[in-house]
């Protein structure tokens, strides 16, 4: 009796909901973009403006707003203005994918830019692959440009490039053979460390110990004490502030006097400010924008970078960092491609982006091709040393 009731109930609910699925399937989606000229070019932006990724996301957003204002100030693209729709993913991939769906489906943006940290970008990758719109990505994980890369274009140096630049420098210009790695446990630190470990053989160096720390850990002396015991020639610290600065201070305090190599995550004034004296002598790979004034006069990007830096400083009262360049270039390439394609039809826009050649941006010279959607190569990075609280270009 009772069981029968339950059965009937369950079945009726099942039927009810199945009905729903039929009715909603009947409404076929019409997702074609009209070929008429739109009133504005809507660009979707997803960045980590709060949460652990915000030190990346906020400068990235600043650069975009500055560029969009500039373009619109000049009348937009052939008279059509740009509109940025910016969403915060709170450094949570689940929110990033929802944001991507919203921007594509509801706001009908013509292209996406984002997100700041790799897990969020990887979440977006799934969505973009499904809907097929061009996507400019400013984050670093190798996996972003592996597999299906049809819609994704990267403007940031991927982990592999930054690691290669640093290891290349260490093996060619120094005599350090025994290296220790200390890295953040977040995506940036973990992928960096994995990459160093993988490439160490190619560059003939030995990794004698690997230690990690949680983002925002207040003290790193226990990890460093263990590293000290393994007796390395030099240490590579891969992370974003404040971890590397705490490590530098802790090293000094523990009397661990070995060469400190960093990542491009410390390519900002903040690191020098936080670490103080302990920052002296630190060597790390960085985008050219960091030392734009020290570039050879013949370098095609020098002028451009200096101009950008002064504009950025004027508006935001702070120096631009490596990350600002990634989104700035992304939007610029997008704008150029819209002009070139004379269409916002996804496939045509994508082809226009893919045909970008010798684009001179803040990150360096960007070339895309059918097989290569990574714009930045090892030549676009420089090795920088901190001396007297200033960056000195080494290569």
């Amino acid at each position: 009796m009772n069981k029968k009731h339950r059965f009937i109930l369950t079945i009726s609910i099942l039927i009810l909901v199945l009905l729903l699925s039929l009715t909603s399937c009947a409404k076929k989606e019409t997702n074609k973009t009209e070929e008429r000229k739109p009133e504005v070019y809507k660009i979707g932006v997803i960045l980590s403006l709060t949460g652990a990724g915000s030190p990346l996301g906020i400068p990235e957003r600043n650069a975009l707003e500055m560029l969009a204002d500039e373009i619109n100030g000049k009348g937009g693209i052939d008279g059509i203005k740009l509109e940025l729709i910016i969403e915060d993913d709170q450094t949570d991939p689940a929110k990033a994918s929802q944001a991507a769906r919203k921007l594509i489906e509801k706001d009908k943006v013509i292209a996406l830019i984002g997100s700041s940290v790799s897990p969020c970008s990887l979440a977006i990758k799934e969505i973009v692959a499904r809907y097929g719109i061009p996507w400019m990505c400013p984050s670093a994980a190798n996996a972003i440009t592996e597999g299906d890369i049809k819609w994704v274009f990267r403007t940031a140096p991927k982990d592999a490039v930054a690691v290669e630049a640093l290891l290349n420098y260490i093996s060619k210009n120094t005599k350090y053979k025994r290296l220790a790695i200390l890295h953040d446990s977040n995506a940036f630190g973990q992928s960096g460390a994995d990459e160093i470990k993988k490439r160490s053989v190619d560059f003939n160096v030995e990794i004698v110990s690997i230690e990690k720390y949680e983002t925002n850990a207040p003290d790193l002396s226990s990890q460093l004490t263990k590293i000290k015991q393994s007796n390395p020639d030099a240490i590579i610290v891969w992370g974003t502030n404040p971890g590397p600065a705490i490590a530098a201070k802790n090293m000094k305090q523990l009397g661990l006097n070995i060469q400190y190599f960093g990542s491009h995550g410390i390519a900002n004034k903040k690191f020098i400010e936080l670490a103080g004296d302990a920052a002296e002598g630190v060597i790390f790979p960085a985008g050219k924008i960091l030392v734009a004034d020290q570039l050879d006069d013949g370098d095609p990007v020098k002028e451009y970078m200096l101009e950008f830096a002064s504009k950025y400083e004027k508006r935001f009262k702070e120096k631009p960092v490596t990350f600002t360049a990634h989104t700035y270039d992304a939007l610029n390439i997008l704008v150029e491609s819209i002009k070139k394609a004379k269409s916002i039809e996804p496939e045509k826009l994508r082809e226009a982006i893919e045909s970008t050649k010798d684009y001179i941006g803040l990150d360096g010279t960007i070339d895309y091709s059918k097989e290569d959607h990574d714009g930045i190569g090892i030549d676009d990075l420089v090795i920088v040393k901190i001396e007297n609280g200033k960056w000195i270009k080494l290569q």
Partner: protein
């Protein structure tokens, strides 16, 4: 090897003192309200940031470290008077309110102090004490000293000071306390403010060693909570030792396991301790429902 071990012990004690200082704030709030203050970590960061801004305005370090917790405490008293009294009676809702508060505080910290971590310049300029090869910075020493001072102060407060006794009475038997002429909301407010004072104090001590960002509160809060639980919530002052034990475990564990699993081991130790002694490792031994 033995030197490494001792060095790790010292590092652990420093780390643990940080945890413990945050942890006592949890216990104090719990003592009077029965709730866990999820914004404790944010209070610590807020305290540190206020102190940083004050030193930025050319106030001597010492004064900044004293004024900042006081300012924060006044802010919390106001907050409690205006909003939280409404939920002070119901620990569950108070907990939710503090969760919400921590989210809001994070945004305020981001808005006023920016996204990047900042450090408090140390009066010792990072000077280090070298005792037979063992290195201990003055700043680190100050943290340990701060934790011990907090311990002694709280021990005195809860066993000798009338307000401390009243706070304990309120949480033990609220209705008898009311019948004895105590206004629970007052003592809950006092406890809340006191907890935030301790948090801000902890933040000020930690800031010279570890740069804090608006986002650092979460991790600090989590470790502080663990220290408080480790020590048993019924004896607030002992959270200091709960923290130190936790810190030492975390630090020593690095020797034996990859540091990615450092927290796993520390948590497993905590779980084992909780199973063996459900009311906290260092607690008075009296079983009581939390």
């Amino acid at each position: 090897m033995i030197e490494t071990l001792i060095q790790l012990l010292i590092s652990g004690a420093v780390l643990g003192s940080i945890y413990g200082l945050i942890g006592v704030g949890f216990s104090v709030v719990h003592t009077a309200t029965g709730a866990i203050n999820f914004a404790q970590g944010e209070f610590a960061v807020l305290g540190a940031f206020l102190a940083i801004s004050l030193t930025g305005a050319d106030l001597p370090h010492f004064f900044a470290v004293i004024i900042s917790p006081i300012v924060l405490t006044l802010f919390v008293v106001l907050l409690f008077r205006i909003f939280l009294t409404r939920v002070a009676d119901d620990a569950l809702y108070l907990v939710v309110a503090t969760i919400a508060l921590s989210l809001m505080l994070k945004t305020l910290l981001l808005y006023f102090w920016g996204r990047e971590p900042i450090g408090l310049s140390s009066p010792f300029q990072g000077k280090t004490l070298n005792i037979a090869g063992l290195m201990l910075g003055y700043d680190q020493l100050l943290i340990i000293a701060g934790a011990l001072i907090a311990y002694i102060f709280l021990l005195f407060f809860f066993s000798k000071h009338p307000a401390g006794k009243a706070m304990k009475a309120v949480v033990e038997e609220k209705e008898i306390a009311m019948a004895s002429g105590l206004n629970p909301a007052l003592y809950q407010g006092v406890a809340f403010a006191f907890g935030s004072l301790l948090g801000a104090f902890a933040g000020c001590l930690v800031a010279p060693v570890s740069m804090l960002s608006y986002n650092s509160g979460g991790l600090l809060g989590l470790k502080g909570f663990a220290s408080a639980i480790f020590a048993g919530l019924d004896r607030p002052e002992r959270a200091v030792f709960g923290g130190i034990i936790l810190g030492v475990i975390e630090s020593l564990v690095v020797l034996f396991v990859p540091s990615g699993f450092k927290d796993v081991v520390a948590l497993i130790v905590l779980l084992i301790v909780l199973t063996l002694k459900p009311e906290g490792f260092l607690s008075g031994g009296r079983k009581r429902l939390a």
